[in-house]
């Protein structure tokens, strides 16, 4: 280390280094202990004593009041007795809270007014064990190694190592439960050519004349209608399978002014009179989206604010989603109801590994 002399660092010599002896800033030590009023005045001391006992006594009173309120007020009675709170809720909470608070305040008052408050210094101790303890531990370990003969009996040692190693196999074999891989399941939904688009919950089919410009219909494929039963009397899709298929096949139907829509090449006939159908599943992490701003044609996902422009082929205009919202091509059936032209032409929902 160089000390900067009067002529700059390069002219400094060892003779110019000032050697300091002793501590340049002496340890000021602890300030003198100052007594509290309760330490010097017995009258104040007795008063503090009475205060602490009074607080503890008050706590008992509140505890008893809690028990009284429990029996006096009906649980779940009129919820707006006092400031929008029910009598039972209010008094049970207040009494128990105040009972605990009085014990707390009493304890603090006790500690700060009456318990000893002399400053105490506690020195740090070394973390290591004492030399005798360490020697004893090492000799115990060596005795164990010697008596078990693990060094002298390699057959036992090696077979034990193999047995322990083999125990890792079940953990690796159980990894198979992560599979099997979903195959092409992620590429398909239950939508197919000619399947009607029906309103969710109501399951009524939809004609273009029923839908006005600015309208949003939360829709499902007609196969989810619980009133359509198979030969076994059960709905066509039900139970867990219904939930899984709904998570992929849910759609929204919107109608816009046809002049506002700019269909991509090949999508010119995917809508009917300005009515377009899109997947309801966000391409970011798969939240259901139906936050539709009809005037600006934006569909907003409430989870992470991904925003899709449905007048422009579901293009992402904001947020973390990386892919446009998949569009379901629709047309009309013989009775004039809106039906799908085919399944989605791309996987719906979030991206996955194999899709790249």
């Amino acid at each position: 280390m160089t000390v900067e002399g009067p002529h700059g660092p390069d002219t400094a010599t060892s003779s110019e280094i000032v050697t300091l002896t002793g501590d340049p800033i002496p340890d000021p030590g602890l300030p003198a202990h100052e007594p509290r009023p309760t330490d010097v005045d017995p009258r104040l001391e007795r008063r503090a004593e009475r205060q602490v006992s009074a607080l503890f006594g008050l706590s008992v009173v509140f505890t008893l009041l809690f028990c009284v309120s429990y029996f006096v007020f009906d649980i779940g009675d009129n919820p707006s007795v006092f400031l929008g709170l029910g009598a039972s809720t209010l008094f049970l909470g207040l009494c128990l809270g105040l009972a605990l608070l009085c014990i707390g305040i009493g304890a603090i008052q006790w500690a700060r007014k009456l318990m000893g408050d002399h400053e105490i210094v506690e020195m740090r101790h070394p973390a290591a064990s004492s030399e005798e303890d360490r020697t004893a531990a090492i000799s115990a370990f060596n005795t164990g190694v010697e008596e078990s003969g693990i060094g002298r009996r390699p057959m036992i040692r090696n077979s034990l190592l193999v047995a322990m190693g083999a125990l890792g196999l079940p953990a690796i074999v159980a990894l198979r439960d992560l599979g099997p891989l979903p195959g092409d399941k992620l590429y398909h939904t239950v939508w197919k050519k000619g399947m009607r688009v029906v309103q969710d919950v109501g399951f009524n089919p939809i004609r273009p004349a029923d839908v006005v410009v600015g309208q949003l219909v939360n829709a499902e494929p007609a196969i989810f209608d619980p009133s359509r039963t198979g030969p076994d009397g059960e709905p066509l899709v039900h139970g867990t399978e219904l939930l899984q298929q709904t998570a992929k096949a849910a759609v929204i139907l919107v109608r816009m002014d046809p002049h506002d829509i700019t269909p991509a090449k090949g999508r010119e006939d995917w809508g009917v009179e300005g009515i377009l159908c899109y997947s309801k599943i966000c391409t970011h992490v798969g939240c259901p989206i139906s936050l539709w701003e009809q005037q600006v044609h934006h569909l907003l996902c409430p989870c992470h604010q991904s925003t899709f422009d449905l007048a422009d082929n579901g293009k992402v205009v904001f947020g973390p989603a990386a892919r446009p919202l998949p569009q379901l091509p629709i047309t009309l059936d013989a009775e004039g109801y809106i039906v799908a032209q085919s399944d989605f032409t791309e996987p719906v929902g979030p991206s996955f590994w194999e899709r790249g």
Binding site: G214, Q215, E293, Q295, Q305
Partner: protein
């Protein structure tokens, strides 16, 4: 009026034996008058009065419109564009009386100031004036009419119907209006308002007309019965007692957690600091 006169003659002929009576003339006159009036009432157009008042409403509504609305929406409600081509006030042709009843009835129109969104405020026009404005706007082009009282009647619904309304509500409404109907934020300063304080008619009209960014839910897809069930669910939801005390805006664990952290734990920290900072010391020495 040939028929009444003919009838009068027949009655008069029947009474002819007493025609010389002192009361014959007045009696005949009375019968004739009653018949004429009765038959007129039978054949006259039944809603002549209503039509008359509707025409009056349109005229009165037009007067109100020219004073209060035309500066933004144009003298014939055709809408006004700004120089840059944006909407200054949109066209009202074809929005129907329901849209007027909602926008004016909730005080959103007339607009207090331009902005991202019209806010709810006390209505400026009274019930009659709103009806007149609605009649004028409805006369400009076909649009949804104000829903009837029977459509918005939510009394006497079974638990099943209200539960079905809940399914519709969670499917169609909660994305913007929150699962308790408390509303929520939208992009660029817009917001979905809270809906539990609106009347059933206003909620119905909002679904029917799609005010501002809200989409339309037409009666052909979401039937009036479905809408009434949704409204019944919202009202039922809002009448649920809050046993825990304060609802804190009904926006769920976020607001409650924030309240607990800021007010609860923050208060405890301040109390601890206050306790530690206040220690009385005495200059007197301890008495032995």
């Amino acid at each position: 009026m040939r028929l009444p006169r003919k009838l009068t003659h027949q009655v008069a002929a029947g009474l002819s034996t007493k025609r010389r009576s002192r009361f014959a003339g007045p009696a005949l006159m009375l019968v004739a008058l009653l018949l004429t009036g009765g038959i007129y009432a039978m054949f006259a157009p039944a809603n002549a009065d209503e039509q008359g008042s509707q025409a009056d409403d349109v005229a009165a509504g037009r007067t109100l419109f020219l004073v209060g609305c035309a500066s933004c929406h144009g003298k014939n409600a055709e809408g006004i564009l700004t120089q840059r081509g944006n909407n200054y006030g949109p066209s009202l042709i074809g929005v129907g009386a329901a849209a007027v009843d909602f926008q004016v009835g909730t005080g959103r129109m007339p607009l207090a100031q331009p902005g991202q969104q019209a806010a709810r405020k006390p209505p400026v026009y009274n019930e009659k004036e709103i009806r007149q404005l609605g009649a004028f706007v409805a006369s400009l082009g076909p649009g949804p009419a104000v829903p009837s009282a029977s459509d918005t009647d939510i009394n006497g619904m079974s638990a099943d119907e209200i539960a079905r309304g809940g399914e519709f509500f969670r499917t169609n409404c909660t994305a913007c209006h929150n699962f308790a109907g408390h509303g929520g934020a939208m992009p660029q300063g817009k917001y979905a308002p809270k809906i539990y304080s609106d009347t059933p008619r206003q909620i119905f009209e909002a679904m029917l007309t799609g005010p501002q960014q809200m989409p339309v839910f037409s009666n052909e897809v979401l039937s009036p019965k479905d809408k009434a069930q949704i409204i019944a669910y919202v009202k039922q939801l809002n009448s649920q007692p809050e046993y825990g005390g304060f609802g804190l805006g009904g926006i769920g664990p976020v607001s409650e957690g924030m309240f607990a952290w800021l007010v609860g734990i923050g208060g405890l920290v301040l109390a601890a600091i206050w306790i530690a900072a206040h220690t009385a010391k005495s200059k007197k020495k301890v008495q032995a």
